[in-house]
C-alpha cells in the first residue's frame, strides 16, 4: 500500500473555509491570459475574438435562458466533483468515475419510468436515485476490493471499469432495456411531468439544490468530521493509518464505494432531472472535465462550485458562439485547454504564496 498519493491529496492542513478566495483572485489574471492566447487562434481562424467572447458571456451568463442552461449543466458536474473530493482527499484515485456515472444513469433510466408508473414522483424519483447510487457503488466495488485486499492500484482497474461500462451499458440497452417504440437504442423515457420539479417558470430543476448540497456535504465530511479525517490520513500516510488502528482495508472500501455512489447518483439525478432516458451512445465523459476542476479547486468544495459554474458558462456560451460565428465547435477544446494551463500556473503561484505565509 505504499503508493504516491500526495499529489492527489495535496498538502491541506485544515484548509480554512474560505481558503478558495486566494485561488479566485489568482484566477482572473490567467483567465485573461488564456482568453488572449485563444483569441489569437480565433484571429487565425479569421473570426473576431471580441465578438466571440461577448457571445459566450451573452449566451452563457447574461441571457436568462442561457444562465438557466448553465445552471442545469452544472448539476452532474457538481455531484461528480463531490465524488472526486471524497476520493482524492483520501489519496485514492477514482478514475472509474465515468463508469459509475454511466451505471447510475442506466439504472435510473431502467427504473425511473417504471417506478413513476407505479408510484407518485415523490416516491419514485428518490427510489430511482437510490438505485442509481447503489449501482454506482457496486460498479466501484471491484476496484475497491482489488485495492483493499491485494493493494492493486485503483487507477488502472478504475479506467478499465469505465471502458467496460461504456460497452456494457450500450449492450444492456440494445439487448434488454430498449424502448420498443423508438428506433434509436434507448431506455423508456420518463415523462416530462414526472421528472424532478422545475423552479417556477424556469428550465432549472431542483437537482441543482441536491447537487450543491452534495458538494458541500462532501467537503464538510472530509474537512470537519472524524470519518473524513480517517479518510485523509489514509491518503496522506497509509502506514500511519495502520499504526493508529484505522483499518486500512475497510477505509479503502468505504471511500471508493462512497465515491462510486456519488458518481452513480450524479447520473441518476441528471436522468431524472433532464435526460429522461438513457441512450446506448451516451457517454459524455464528464469525469475528465471535472478532474482538473477539482484539482484547481484544491479539493475545496466551495471552490469546486465556482469553477464548475465558470466551466458551464463557457460550455453553454461557446456552443452558441461557435454556431453563430461559424467557428468549429472544437475551438472550445482549445479554449478550455488554455484556461486549464494558465489556471494551473496561477494555482501553483498561489501555493507558493501560501507556503511562504505558513
Amino acid at each position: 500500500m505504499t503508493e504516491s498519493t500526495e499529489f492527489i491529496t495535496g498538502a491541506t492542513p485544515a484548509a480554512p473555509r474560505f481558503g478558495f478566495l486566494l485561488p479566485l483572485g489568482l484566477a482572473l489574471l490567467p483567465v485573461m491570459a488564456a482568453l488572449v492566447a485563444a483569441g489569437l487562434v480565433l484571429l487565425v481562424l479569421g473570426s473576431d475574438p471580441i465578438e466571440y467572447y461577448s457571445y459566450v458571456v451573452q449566451r452563457g451568463l447574461l441571457r436568462w435562458r442561457g444562465l438557466q442552461a448553465t445552471v442545469v449543466n452544472m448539476v452532474p458536474l457538481l455531484i461528480l466533483g463531490g465524488a472526486l473530493i471524497v476520493s482524492f482527499r483520501s489519496g485514492l484515485w477514482n478514475l472509474g468515475i465515468d463508469g459509475q456515472y454511466l451505471l447510475g444513469t442506466l439504472t435510473a433510466g431502467a427504473t425511473a419510468p417504471l417506478l413513476a408508473g407505479a408510484f407518485p414522483s415523490i416516491v419514485a424519483l428518490p427510489l430511482a436515485m437510490l438505485a442509481g447510487a447503489v449501482a454506482g457503488a457496486l460498479w466501484a466495488l471491484p476496484p475497491a476490493l482489488l485495492r483493499a485486499r491485494a493493494g492493486i492500484n485503483e487507477v488502472i482497474s478504475g479506467l478499465m471499469m469505465s471502458l467496460i461500462a461504456a460497452s456494457l451499458t450500450a449492450a444492456a440497452i440494445k439487448l434488454w432495456l430498449k424502448d420498443p417504440a423508438s428506433l434509436e437504442p434507448q431506455t423508456l423515457t420518463l415523462p416530462v411531468e414526472d421528472r424532478l420539479p422545475l423552479l417556477a417558470g424556469t428550465d432549472i430543476n431542483i437537482g441543482i439544490f441536491i447537487a450543491l448540497g452534495l458538494v458541500i456535504a462532501a467537503h464538510t465530511l472530509m474537512m470537519r468530521s472524524a470519518t473524513g479525517l480517517r479518510f485523509r490520513i489514509l491518503g496522506l500516510n497509509p502506514a500511519a493509518a495502520t499504526h493508529a488502528g484505522l483499518g486500512v482495508p475497510k477505509l479503502t472500501l468505504s471511500v471508493l464505494c462512497l465515491s462510486g455512489a456519488l458518481g452513480g447518483l450524479a447520473g441518476a439525478v441528471e436522468l431524472t432531472g433532464v435526460l429522461g432516458k438513457m441512450q446506448a451512445s451516451w457517454h459524455p465523459g464528464y469525469g475528465f472535465a471535472v478532474v482538473p476542476l477539482v484539482f484547481l479547486a484544491r479539493m475545496n468544495g466551495w471552490a469546486v462550485i465556482v469553477f464548475v459554474f465558470a466551466f458551464s458558462v463557457l460550455q453553454i456560451g461557446s456552443a452558441s458562439a461557435a454556431t453563430r460565428l461559424g467557428v468549429p465547435q472544437d475551438f472550445t477544446l482549445v479554449l478550455v485547454g488554455f484556461l486549464l494551463l494558465f489556471l494551473a500556473l496561477s494555482e501553483y503561484a498561489g501555493e507558493r504564496l501560501r507556503a511562504k505565509k505558513v
Binding site: 470537519r224 468530521s225 479525517l229 500516510n237 495502520t242 483499518g247 505565509k357
Partner: protein, 520 residues
C-alpha cells in the same frame, strides 16, 4: 595528529531561514583536514540544516561557504560531491526498490553498465569490517532502518573525498557498530580527510572528536579547540559542553550516561503477560519467535539487542499492528487477534521508532497528530464532528508540557526537526491513562535535555503504575531505566536478567550469544 593549518571548508556568517524559523543565524565554522569535528546541539538547533548547505541541498540565504579558502556557491549535491564533500544524512537516502549494490553505485554516468560483481565483493568486506552482514543483493526496503544507515555510511566512506559529513550516524548503531565507526573515522583522519560528526551522545563526541562546536537556537555558541580538548579532564570537558548546549546547570552531565538504576520494590500483579509469541513483519520480513515474558504493574521491562533482531515486529505484534501466534494477556484479559484500536482503548500504547514512516502524518498539523489515535472520541469530536477548540487546547497543553520547538501547534509535523517530531509522538502516547506502554527507541534522536526529560517521564509513568516495555538499542538506557532486562538475538528472547551491578556484563554476554536459551 596535527590539525593542518588551513581549513578544507569554512562557513562564513551563514544564515538560513525557513517559514517561521531561523534555522541558522550567522554561523561561522572551520573544518580542518585530518580532524574529526564534533557538531553538537539540541534538537532543532540547526545542525542538519547547516550540513544540508554543505551538501548542496540547501542554499544559504546569507553568508558564504569557502572551500580551500575560495568562496563557492554549492549549487547541488553533485557539485558538493565533486568538491569532495560526502554526506550521510540524518534521514535515509537510499532507493527502496533498488538493491544495496545498485544503491552503492548510483551516480555513475548514465550510459554505463552497472558492474555489480566487483561491488558485491567489496561491500561484503566493508560490511564484515563493520561487523554487520547485509546482503548486497537485498532490496533496501527489506532492510531495517539500522541496516539502511550502515549501508549509507559504507557508501560515504567509499566515496572518500576530502570532507565527510555524518549526521547522527550512530543513532541506530549497536555499541560494537559505534566502535567500528570510530575506528574508521580514525583511518579516514589518517588519510587527511576532514570529518564532521553530528551526535547527541556527548561520550561519543568526546571519544572521537578532536574539536567540538555547539549550535544553540541556530547560533554557533562556541566550542572546544583540539589543544584544550586534549588537555581538559573528561568530566570538565563534558560539563563545559553541557553548559554551552543548554546554558548553565540545566542538565547534569551524567544524564548523558543515562543516570544510575535504583532498585525498587514492585507489586506482584502481572499487568502484561506474553506467552510463546511468534510473528513476522510483512513490511520488512524480519521476525521473532516464541517470545515469553511478563511485566508487572509499574515495572519497566527492558529489551536490549542490536537493531535488526526482531524488536520492531515484536513491538508491532504487541500493539496489534501485525498478526502473531501465541498469547498476550493484558491486565488478565486475553487480547486475541490483532486489533490496534481495541488494544489502545484497553490502555496498551506503542511509541514507535519509525516516527516519519508510521508515527506521524507529516502534512497534518501538530495539533491533529496529537489526537491521531483518538479520532472520533469525545471531547475532540461530538457526533462525529470535530471540535477544533478542544483539539487545539489539548495540543497546546502537550506542546508546552513536552517543550516542543516549533512555530506553533498548526505547523505541519513534517517540518519539525527529528527530535521535535519524537517529542510530539511521546506526548501523544503518554497522554490519557495508559496501562501498558511499549517504547521503541524512545530517546533516539533526542538531545541530552530531552533524553533526560523523556527518561524522567518514563520513570514517572512507570511509578504511577504503568507497566512498561522498553525496547532500545542503547544499552546504557536500558540499564538506567529497567527493573529487568530481556535480550533479543535473531528474533529470540535469549535471556532475562535482573538489573543490578552484574547486569551489564550478563547482558553483554547474552548479546554476544555466549549463553544459549536459559530464559528465566
Amino acid at each position: 595528529m596535527t590539525a593542518a593549518p588551513s581549513p578544507v571548508v569554512s562557513l562564513r556568517e551563514v544564515t538560513k531561514r525557513f517559514p517561521g524559523v531561523i534555522a541558522n543565524d550567522r554561523v561561522s565554522l572551520d573544518f580542518f583536514p585530518g580532524e574529526v569535528h564534533a557538531l553538537l546541539g539540541e534538537n532543532g538547533a540547526g545542525k542538519s540544516t547547516l550540513i544540508s548547505m554543505l551538501a548542496g541541498v540547501q542554499r544559504p540565504d546569507e553568508g558564504e561557504i569557502a572551500v580551500d579558502g575560495a568562496a563557492v556557491a554549492i549549487a547541488s549535491p553533485r557539485h558538493a560531491l565533486s568538491l569532495g564533500i560526502g554526506t550521510v544524512y540524518q534521514h535515509r537516502m537510499l532507493v527502496p526498490t533498488l538493491t544495496v549494490a545498485e544503491n552503492l553505485m548510483l551516480g555513475a554516468p548514465w550510459w554505463r553498465r552497472p558492474a555489480l560483481g566487483g561491488v558485491r565483493a567489496r561491500f561484503r568486506e566493508a560490511a564484515a569490517a563493520f561487523g554487520v552482514s547485509v546482503d548486497p543483493d537485498a532490496r533496501v526496503e527489506n532492510l531495517s532502518l539500522g541496516e539502511q544507515q550502515q549501508v549509507e555510511i559504507i557508501r560515504a566512506l567509499w566515496r572518500g573525498g576530502r570532507l565527510l559529513v555524518l549526521d547522527e550516524p550512530t543513532a541506530m548503531l549497536s555499541p560494537k557498530g559505534v566502535e567500528e565507526l570510530g575506528a574508521m573515522m580514525g583511518r579516514m583522519k589518517a588519510l587527511g580527510i576532514g570529518i564532521v560528526f553530528i551526535t547527541h551522545h556527548l561520550t561519543e563526541a568526546l571519544d572521537f572528536g578532536d574539536r567540538v562546536s555547539v549550535l544553540r537556537g541556530g547560533r554557533s555558541v562556541g566550542g572546544i579547540a583540539p589543544e584544550t580538548l586534549t588537555a581538559l579532564p573528561r568530566a570538565d570537558a563534558m560539563a563545559e559542553v553541557v553548559r554551552l548546549m543548554f546554558g548553565t546547570g540545566l542538565a547534569s552531565a551524567e544524564a548523558a550516561e543515562g543516570g544510575a538504576h535504583v532498585p525498587r520494590a514492585l507489586p506482584n500483579t502481572k499487568m502484561l503477560e506474553v506467552v510463546g509469541l511468534s510473528g513476522r513483519s510483512p513490511r520488512s520480513g524480519s521476525s521473532f519467535e516464541d517470545v515469553s515474558f511478563h511485566v508487572r504493574k509499574g515495572e519497566i521491562f527492558g529489551i536490549a539487542g542490536v537493531d535488526g533482531n526482531g524488536q520492531t515486529p515484536l513491538a508491532e505484534a504487541l500493539a496489534g499492528q501485525i498478526a502473531a501466534t501465541g498469547s498476550v494477556v493484558l491486565d488478565g484479559r486475553e487480547l486475541g487477534p490483532a486489533n490496534v484500536a481495541l488494544r489502545y482503548q484497553l490502555g496498551l500504547r506503542y511509541a514507535t521508532d519509525d516516527r516519519n514512516g508510521e508515527g506521524m502524518v507529516g502534512k497534518l498539523p501538530i495539533s491533529t497528530n496529537m489526537v491521531l489515535k483518538e479520532i472520533g472520541a469525545a471531547p475532540f469530536w461530538r457526533r462525529g464532528i470535530e471540535r477544533r477548540a478542544a483539539i487545539d487546547a489539548h495540543a497546546s497543553a502537550l506542546f508546552a508540557a513536552h517543550d516542543v520547538r516549533a512555530p506553533g501547534i498548526h505547523t505541519p509535523v513534517g517540518r519539525l526537526s527529528g527530535g521535535n517530531i519524537q517529542k510530539v509522538l511521546l506526548a501523544r502516547e503518554l497522554s490519557g491513562s495508559p496501562k501498558v506502554i511499549v517504547y521503541s527507541k524512545p530517546t533516539h534522536g533526542l538531545d541530552l535535555r530531552n533524553i533526560e526529560a523523556t527518561r524522567r517521564r518514563i520513570r514517572e509513568t512507570a511509578e504511577a503504575g504503568v507497566a512498561t516495555v522498553l525496547i532500545s538499542t542503547d544499552l546504557g538506557e536500558v540499564l538506567a531505566l529497567s527493573d529487568r532486562i530481556g535480550v533479543m538475538v535473531r528474533g529470540r528472547l535469549v535471556g532475562i536478567v535482573e538489573n543490578g551491578p552484574e547486569a551489564r556484563l550478563e547482558v553483554g554476554r547474552l548479546m554476544a550469544g555466549i549463553t544459549e536459551r536459559e530464559a528465566a
